[in-house]
């Protein structure tokens, strides 16, 4: 006797927004009659915070991980105890996506220290002789466009292009070891829509030594508040090369980066934790000398 339990969501991309209904079917296929003590459906969503081992001790990190913040937790009974006939059974369901009181449904995010994830779970309870069946299905939550709980509006509306100019003199290190170079460029905005790529361009005005590579590094900055203060950690999400080899001078090179899904979310600042993003523009010279320029980003869902 083999039983298959599956949850199939109606939307192929599995993306839902607050107040929407999650619709789908519970599909059970069984080769024989299935007796059960009830079927329940649970929608869960929570923020998992973990402390970095750098800030606290390893053991502390392990035990003291901050309690998860539950954002949603709804359980409903699909069916009381009963019997399903042999073959495939499909039970359609519809669950409204509503947060717990005083909570906001943050966007799904997978980071290193912070994870925001949602899942819908189906339990089929059975008599003590046989094992209970359980199936869990992840789904994604997104904000309604322009309804972000995120940063204050004055930053969001600040869509001016950001000009930058890099040369040995502008470096914090005073330009020691760097060849003579001048790099100009602009980011079209540092407040970006998460669904659209980061754009801009740069021009290498002059450069004494050949460039090996120009890269864009997308960095997440996760901050967790806890009893002993807070921990701030910056880690790389992805690194994209935009210039390869000895690029010609005085030529427009586009800055273009697609924000990866799941690993980015709109910039989130809450009392307990923060998720922020930054861009590093990295110029690697032929002698492996490295020049970096950092731009904080604000991501919004539009």
């Amino acid at each position: 006797m083999s039983i298959n339990l599956d949850i199939r969501l109606k939307r192929a991309d599995k993306v839902y927004r607050e107040d929407e209904n999650i619709t789908g079917v519970i599909a059970i296929s069984s080769t024989s009659d299935l007796k059960h003590d009830g079927i329940t459906l649970t929608v869960e969503g929570c923020v998992n915070l973990q402390l970095s081992s750098k800030n606290v001790g390893i053991i502390d990190a392990f035990y003291n991980s901050v309690k998860p913040i539950q954002l949603i937790g709804v359980t409903c009974e699909v069916s009381g105890s009963g019997r399903l006939p042999a073959g495939a059974t499909e039970i359609p369901f519809e669950v409204p996506l509503k947060p717990k009181p005083n909570r906001v449904l943050y966007e799904t995010y997978h980071g290193v220290y912070i994870n925001i994830s949602y899942a819908i779970r189906c339990d089929v309870r059975r008599s003590f002789l046989s094992k209970d069946l359980q199936k869990s299905q992840q789904f994604l939550v997104q904000y309604w466009p322009a309804r972000n709980p995120g940063p204050p509006p004055h930053i969001k509306d600040n869509r001016k292009p950001v000009q930058f100019k890099l040369s040995p003199t502008t470096l914090a290190s005073g330009g020691a070891g760097a060849p003579d170079f001048l790099l100009k460029g602009q980011l079209n905005s540092i407040c970006c829509s998460i669904s659209r790529p980061l754009t801009g361009h740069l021009v290498l005005d002059r450069c004494a030594a050949p460039v090996r590579s120009i890269e864009l590094q997308l960095v997440r900055v996760e901050t967790c508040g806890c009893a002993e203060g807070y921990a701030r950690e910056a880690t790389e999400i992805q690194n994209i090369q935009i210039g390869d080899g000895d690029i010609p001078t005085n030529v427009d090179i586009p800055i273009y980066m697609v924000f990866p899904r799941l690993f980015t979310c709109p910039t989130l600042i809450t009392p307990n934790f923060k998720i922020e993003f930054e861009i590093n523009l990295v110029i690697v010279f032929h002698d492996d000398h490295l020049v970096t320029n950092n731009f904080p980003l604000i991501l919004v869902r539009e």
């Binding site: 050949p210 994209i240 080899g245 427009d252 697609v258």
Partner: protein
């Protein structure tokens, strides 16, 4: 039955017919109803991996009309044709494909543009692969090329296990076996092939991530220029793989969509809109693009995105256009100019393959402009460093750019014209008349545009400063343009003098001849033979020293071929001072023969009548070269070809009314071309024709002079024929010459010819393969009918020739008696006619036996004597044949002959009756039509109704009984 009806037969006349058909209305038809189904489109064969599968669509075979279930079963291509297609060598296959594509294109103009572009690339591809090769070691860094698959596929029980296993596998691929190999070129190509297979098999076994990784690794190879000269070939090999990958992704997405909305069976139409695409397919597609957007390195990211470009249409209609624009911009970030230009080339190619979707071709031009923008970067320090390190010269380096640039500009120039060309030339000037850009422009734009500006180009070439494409290549490219499309009339001379000034200054013979090749064509087409002569002289001056021409036979051959194919006045060419010396340069026998053959074949189509002594001499010289090349080892076909050419030349040479000169020429020709049979045959035919022509002119009344001349002709034939090896020709020509001689009243010569023919017949019985009996019988019968009018030679006995013929026939070793019997039957016919008072035909002004003997009794008796001998002979042959169908047929024939030709004497009547009985003995004889009845006691009327196809031939002979 029919007699019961009163049938009034009336022949259907035109009038009646038109009256009958007037009432009918006609419908114009485009198709014959009995014609078999025609396949209007055919599924092009696709070989996975070896095809530039840049989205070549697969047209569904849709036969327009299917009338027969049989042809339907064959699905358009009958198996034989299919085999034929399959077995074609790749070249013909390409041609066939092309021609098929052409058929398609007439139906869909839009499609044709796109196809021509694809074909253009396919052609380019082959030339790139053959041109850019290396003998150096090429390194390849990859993890997918383990000799045996070390990853053991474990039994995976649970999903978790499966996942874990998959991850392990991926890790293994990522880190485990990244190896760096140094390979020779062929090994490298094999490896890439292997990667291709690996990719397809990974894809087919659902390992899509692995397939993507292979694609990325392949693309990564393109950022490595460690062996510069091999780079273009590498590009071709790897983009093939990327194309396959792109197609795989596209196909999967479209099958994912197929079942959505459109029902499970329908396929996604070629120009689908995103609304028709299912959500899950969209989601998968989006995933692909997110995935490739996160590829770390620039070059692989760009290439893989380009490979997947077509799939953007699952998401939105405008995205693709936008991506083309963006990628055009992003390629700026590639520092290595060579890598960048090839990336642009691939982008253009991908764009072109979507040309049915993308109407805005702006990106093509954009790409070229961006290349021009970065042009100076070709001379940057890092390039110089790389060149120095690999010991590659600047000009070789520049030449590596040409395939990509040519392709890009061709796509642009396809429908752009004048304005763009002017603009590009301006830009070219800005870059110091860059040779690379000039060369690309010249080869990409339509020749007529280039030709119109030839002077400007020449000037720019002169002012070209850089060390890129060398002067001779530029001149050659320009030469190719001007030779195809004519430059303005008023410039032609100046162009030639300027260009040739440069060409003649080239010191290297190789460069010189490469340039001269197209320019000679230019001269041939637009100038008189005087200029051509000068140019040819210059060529000879350049390549004659030190026997350097020996290495450039191919180019010289092309030169000669171009001249021959394009020259207007062929005679002038042959008279030219420098043409024959040029031919003389071909010292190697085989090539020399080939060239002569080309020239003569060219002359055959150009010359009609030649009588100029110099031209004739030149032709004879060329012919002699051909003739002398024939030896025992010459293949049959070659022998035949040469024979044909020589015959044709002989036919062309015509001195008009100067018959003696003509005959003299034939005598010379016989002396020079003694090795080739067919030429002799031709000569004999020609001389016979000459002889007949003479007679026509004098209207049968020969003067002494013409009489001598025709006798000379007859003598010529008589002594030429024996040298012909083929007995068949010999026999026929003897007969023909005899007839012609007779026609010209040369009785002695005619006699001699006929006797010679008889001797030949007796000779050939030793080798019957040359002239089989089946051919001999009609020959003898023809001979007999000629003999009828041949007057007897007074020096010999009566009917000397006929007797001789009979003797020969009797002595001939026949395979069966049947042949002889049928000949004898004809002999009886001929002899009976001979006995008549007035023969049915005569030769004008030749007195035949009828007037010679005037039915003299002795003469008739002689004929009767021969007849009896023949009849006796016939009877014995019939006897020996034994009873059979054949026997009865012959018996009845002889019976008829007896009845018709003979005054039946008593004895003969008995014979006739015997024959009749003999004939009746065989049951197969249809006696229904053969009735023998007794009318009264004294008279036997033999009524023969012989079956003769449709009508009954009635012959009634009353025979008086004595």
């Amino acid at each position: 039955m029919s007699s019961n009806y009163n049938i009034e037969w009336k022949t259907c006349t035109d009038e009646h017919f038109s009256a009958k058909t007037k009432g009918l209305s006609g419908v114009k038809t485009t198709d014959h109803p009995l014609k078999t189904a025609i396949v209007t489109e055919r599924v092009p064969r696709r070989i996975l991996g070896s095809q530039p599968s840049t989205g070549r669509t697969t047209p569904v075979s849709t036969p327009s009309v299917i009338l027969e279930p049989l042809s339907m079963a064959l699905e358009g291509v009958d198996p034989l044709t299919a085999f034929a297609i399959e077995e074609m060598d790749p070249l013909t296959k390409l041609a066939a494909q092309e021609s098929r594509d052409k058929v398609d294109s007439s139906q869909d103009k839009k499609l044709s543009d796109y196809k021509c572009e694809v074909d253009a690339w396919a052609m380019k591809k082959a030339s790139i692969l053959s041109k850019y090769t290396t003998s150096e070691k090429i390194s390849i860094v990859t993890s997918f090329l383990s000799d045996g698959d070390k990853v053991v596929v474990k039994a995976q029980s649970t999903a978790v296990d499966k996942m874990q296993h998959r991850l392990e596998q991926l890790d293994y691929i990522e880190e485990g076996s990244q190896t760096r190999l140094d390979l020779s070129q062929t090994e490298y190509v094999n490896r890439i092939e292997q990667l291709n297979r690996e990719l397809v098999s990974a894809w087919n076994s659902e390992q899509r991530v692995k397939a993507l990784k292979i694609a990325i690794q392949c693309a990564k190879l393109l950022s490595d220029t460690s062996v510069l000269t091999f780079y273009p070939s590498k590009f071709v090999l790897i983009t093939d793989i990327l194309d396959v990958f792109g197609q795989l992704v596209y196909n999967r997405l479209s099958t994912k969509t197929d079942s959505h909305k459109l029902g499970s069976k329908t396929k996604l139409p070629e120009d689908f809109t995103p609304e028709m695409v299912s959500d899950s397919a969209k989601e998968t597609c989006l995933n692909w693009f997110y995935k490739i957007a996160s590829i770390r390195e620039l070059v692989p990211r760009l290439y893989v995105e380009m490979a997947l470009m077509k799939s953007y249409y699952f998401l939105s209609l405008s995205e693709c256009q936008e991506a083309l624009r963006r990628l055009t911009h992003m390629i700026n970030g590639i520092g290595n100019p060579l890598v960048a230009v090839y990336a642009r080339c691939y982008l253009c190619r991908v764009g072109c393959s979507l040309s049915n979707r993308i109407k805005n071709k702006e990106y093509l031009l954009q790409n070229f402009h961006r290349f021009l923008q970065n042009y100076q970067h070709l001379f940057s320090r890092s390039v110089k460093g790389e060149l120095a390190q690999q010991k590659v010269s600047q000009s070789v380096y520049m030449s590596l750019f040409t395939p990509a640039l040519d392709y890009m500009l061709q796509t642009v120039a396809c429908d752009n014209s004048d304005a763009l060309l002017n603009e590009l030339l301006e830009r070219c000037k800005v870059h110091g008349n860059s040779s690379l850009i000039l060369n690309t422009v010249m080869s990409a734009f339509k020749p007529h545009l280039i030709s119109a500006r030839t002077l400007q180009f020449l000037e720019m070439i002169e002012h070209c400063l850089d060390q890129g494409i060398p002067l001779h290549s530029l001149l050659r490219t320009l030469g190719l343009c001007v030779s195809v499309a004519p430059p303005p009339l008023e410039h032609r001379r100046q162009i030639l003098s300027t260009a040739w000034k440069h060409i003649t200054g080239l010191k290297q013979v190789e460069e010189y001849i490469a340039c001269a090749e197209p320019w000679v064509l230019y001269v041939v087409k637009y100038f008189s033979h005087r200029e051509l002569n000068t140019i040819l002289g210059d060529i000879i001056d350049h390549i004659a020293p030190d026997r350097s021409y020996e290495q450039y036979y191919n180019q010289l051959k092309n030169v000669v071929e171009n001249i021959v194919l394009n020259i207007q006045d062929f005679e002038a060419l042959l008279v030219m001072d420098n043409f024959l010396p040029l031919i003389d340069l071909f010292q190697q026998e085989s090539i020399r023969v080939e060239v002569c053959k080309k020239v003569l074949s060219g002359s055959n189509s150009n010359l009609i009548f030649v009588n100029d002594a110099v031209v004739v001499n030149a032709l004879m010289f060329l012919c002699t070269v051909l003739h002398d090349s024939v030896n025992a080892l010459t293949p049959e076909d070659e022998y035949r070809q040469i024979g044909d050419i020589l015959c044709h030349v002989i036919k062309t040479i015509d001195y008009g009314r100067d018959f003696e000169q003509q005959l003299t020429f034939y005598v010379e020709a016989r002396a020079s071309f003694s090795n080739i049979d067919i030429v002799f045959v031709q000569l004999v035919q020609c001389v016979n024709a000459l002889s007949v022509k003479t007679r026509q002119i004098v209207k049968g009344l020969h003067t002494r002079k013409t009489g001598d001349f025709v006798r000379a002709c007859a003598a010529y034939c008589f002594i030429t024929v024996p040298s012909i090896k083929s007995a068949k020709h010999r026999l026929r020509l003897y007969l023909l010459s005899g007839q012609v001689a007779l026609f010209n009243h040369c009785l002695g010569q005619a006699d001699a010819c006929f006797k010679a023919a008889l001797t030949t017949i007796s000779e050939i019985q030793n080798d019957k393969t040359q002239f089989p009996e089946s051919e001999l019988i009609p020959y003898v019968k023809q001979f007999l009918s000629i003999l009828l009018v041949v007057p007897d030679n007074p020096d010999c006995s009566v009917l000397n020739l006929t007797r001789a013929l009979l003797n020969v026939l009797q002595g001939y070793s026949w395979e069966s008696n049947i042949s002889l019997i049928s000949i004898y039957l004809s002999v009886i016919d001929m002899l009976s006619v001979m006995a008549q008072e007035w023969y049915p035909y005569h030769i004008d002004k030749v007195e035949s036996n009828d007037s010679l003997y005037g039915s003299d009794k002795k003469f008739i008796a002689e004929i009767n004597k021969i007849c009896s001998v023949v009849t006796n002979e016939l009877m014995s042959k019939l006897q020996s044949l034994g009873p059979c169908t054949k026997q009865s047929t012959f018996a009845i024939e002889l019976f008829v002959k007896l009845a018709v030709r003979n005054d039946l004497t008593n004895q003969m009547l008995v014979l006739a009756l015997n024959l009749w009985n003999l004939a009746k003995r065989d049951n197969t004889l249809d006696t229904k039509y053969l009735v023998c009845e007794t009318l009264d006691e004294n008279n036997v009327s033999i009524l023969c109704i012989l079956p003769d196809q449709n009508k009954k031939l009635r012959k009634k002979t009353n025979v008086r009984m004595q």
